[in-house]
């Protein structure tokens, strides 16, 4: 076999990169959700969670850089895949019918992905790249979710994220080669449960915060 072709550049290599980074984001979502659930413990509980998190200092920066690196891989590879897949079938069928494999999640991956990218940038501008010297994160949230437009944007984005992971989670396992009659049905179920948990868990926060005011 010639050593010319880099395995990561092949279709399967790209798929593997999407899977590994995607699973990374699923872990992140879980941690993010767990952290944000402290909101239901009240304003002070939440602010103390934020403080604790930030007191980790360099660890947080490291995690942020890791996520940024993952995001670059996931987004750039995803865009390349979208482009290549379009080129693999530029002529469309005039009648399109699903045979039962495609789901809402799998059919919309590139589109939900782009929406999520835009949302993440928006979200970071709201809560990350802001001056927090004279305010608390809770205060920032409370101000943001005073606006129904913000509530709508956030809730909508969370639903999009839920749709994205409903396919992404089990798909990542399949890509990593984990497919077995014993646990694949479980993984598919887990994907749905995970997406519902993320959807409800994160989706209610804007509404809850606006009710607290």
């Amino acid at each position: 076999m010639n050593g010319l072709t880099n395995p990561m550049g092949t279709s399967v290599g790209k798929k593997l990169m999407m899977a590994v980074t995607g699973l990374g984001f699923c872990c992140f979502l879980t941690i993010h959700l767990a952290g944000n659930l402290t909101l239901y413990g009240g304003k002070d509980f939440f602010n103390s969670y934020v403080e604790h998190l930030h007191s980790l200092g360099p660890l947080v920066t490291l995690a942020e850089l890791g996520l940024l690196f993952f995001a670059l891989i996931h987004v750039l590879t995803g865009m390349l895949l979208f482009y290549q897949n379009y080129n693999a079938r530029p002529a469309r069928y005039s009648v399109n019918k699903r045979a039962g494999g495609r789901t809402l999640g799998s059919a919309t991956m590139p589109y939900t992905g782009v929406i999520l990218l835009l949302f993440v940038i928006f979200h970071l501008m709201n809560f990350h790249f802001v001056d927090k010297t004279n305010t608390t994160t809770f205060q920032l949230m409370s101000n943001a979710f005073a606006s129904p437009v913000y509530i709508f944007i956030y809730t909508f984005a969370v639903i999009i994220a839920a749709i994205h992971v409903s396919h992404g989670l089990w798909s990542a396992f399949q890509t990593l080669g984990a497919n077995h009659p014993k646990y694949t049905p479980f993984l598919r179920g887990l994907s749905i449960v995970f997406s519902v948990v993320i959807g409800i868990g994160l989706g209610f926060i804007p509404v809850y915060v606006s009710l607290l005011r």
Partner: protein, 254 residues
């Protein structure tokens, strides 16, 4: 019970690779429900020939579901709506009097148009040529059963070997990916001891060839598995992924 029905066909007609194609409508009258789909097209073609028109070009050979030559997209479904069936084994009893049936060729960059419903699937042959074989020395035939193979493994290899190379998986895939076909071919060999020595180079070579031929990238849509006339499972794709990781990331092959 046999009865005769009338249906309307909307068929993709295209004179050649680089000319513009389009749908033509033809009546298919007095079609016995015992006929196969291809026999129905035969009837329409006879009429077209009598009328002095060009008959519809379509691929076929065995007409018993084993050769993999036939195939078209019928009302948006590869090989028609019946599960686990090739087009030649789809019968007109699954249609009703008065139906309009839309017939399109497989569509993929890697399967260039030849004429009407015929596309060039030689890309599959190239994937096989890249590594879908085992190398054996000539000489006396080895004793049968000299290498023990577990029943379960033999079954899995046979399931994968059921692929007839029809191309429905590519046609059904929203990304026009050839992963189901390639994974079936990789699996049938990788599962068996005879295929193991070349498993590494095979996985790399076949995947690279598949990409080079402009097939799309698999995104686990599972449409291939649902449309495959031989019901090849996507667990083969997971096996291909494992073989590829072994070959590309941890093997000694450079």
């Amino acid at each position: 019970m046999t009865k005769n029905i009338n249906v309307t066909l909307k068929v993709w007609r295209q004179k050649g690779p680089h000319v513009k194609g389009g749908f033509e409508t033809y009546p298919a009258t007095d079609i016995s429900t015992d006929m196969s789909f291809l026999e129905m097209i035969d009837c329409v073609n006879e009429q077209l020939t009598l009328d002095g028109k060009e008959p519809i070009a379509f691929d076929h050979d065995c007409r018993e579901g084993i050769c993999g030559m036939c195939g078209a997209v019928i009302n948006g479904r590869c090989h028609g709506q019946e599960k686990g069936t090739t087009l030649c084994q789809l019968h007109m009893r699954h249609f009703s009097n008065g139906d309009t049936i839309v017939i399109e060729p497989w569509r993929a960059t890697a399967f260039p148009m030849v004429k009407d419903l015929v596309v060039d699937r030689s890309a599959f042959d190239q994937i096989i040529l890249a590594g879908g074989y085992i190398s054996v020395n000539t000489g006396g035939a080895p004793d049968a059963n000299s290498i023990p193979i577990a029943q379960e493994i033999a079954e899995l290899a046979m399931d994968a070997a059921a692929c007839i190379g029809c191309g429905a998986c590519v046609a059904a895939c929203p990304n026009a990916s050839a992963m189901l076909f390639t994974s079936a071919k990789i699996s049938q060999l990788a599962l068996l001891p005879q295929g193991k020595p070349e498993a590494t180079s095979r996985a790399l070579a076949m995947v690279n060839k598949m990409d080079e031929l402009c097939f799309g990238n698999c995104s686990n849509e599972r449409e291939c598995e649902a449309e495959c006339p031989k019901e090849i499972s996507i667990s083969n794709i997971a096996r291909l992924n494992r073989e590829f990781v072994k070959a590309g990331l941890v093997s000694v092959v450079k």
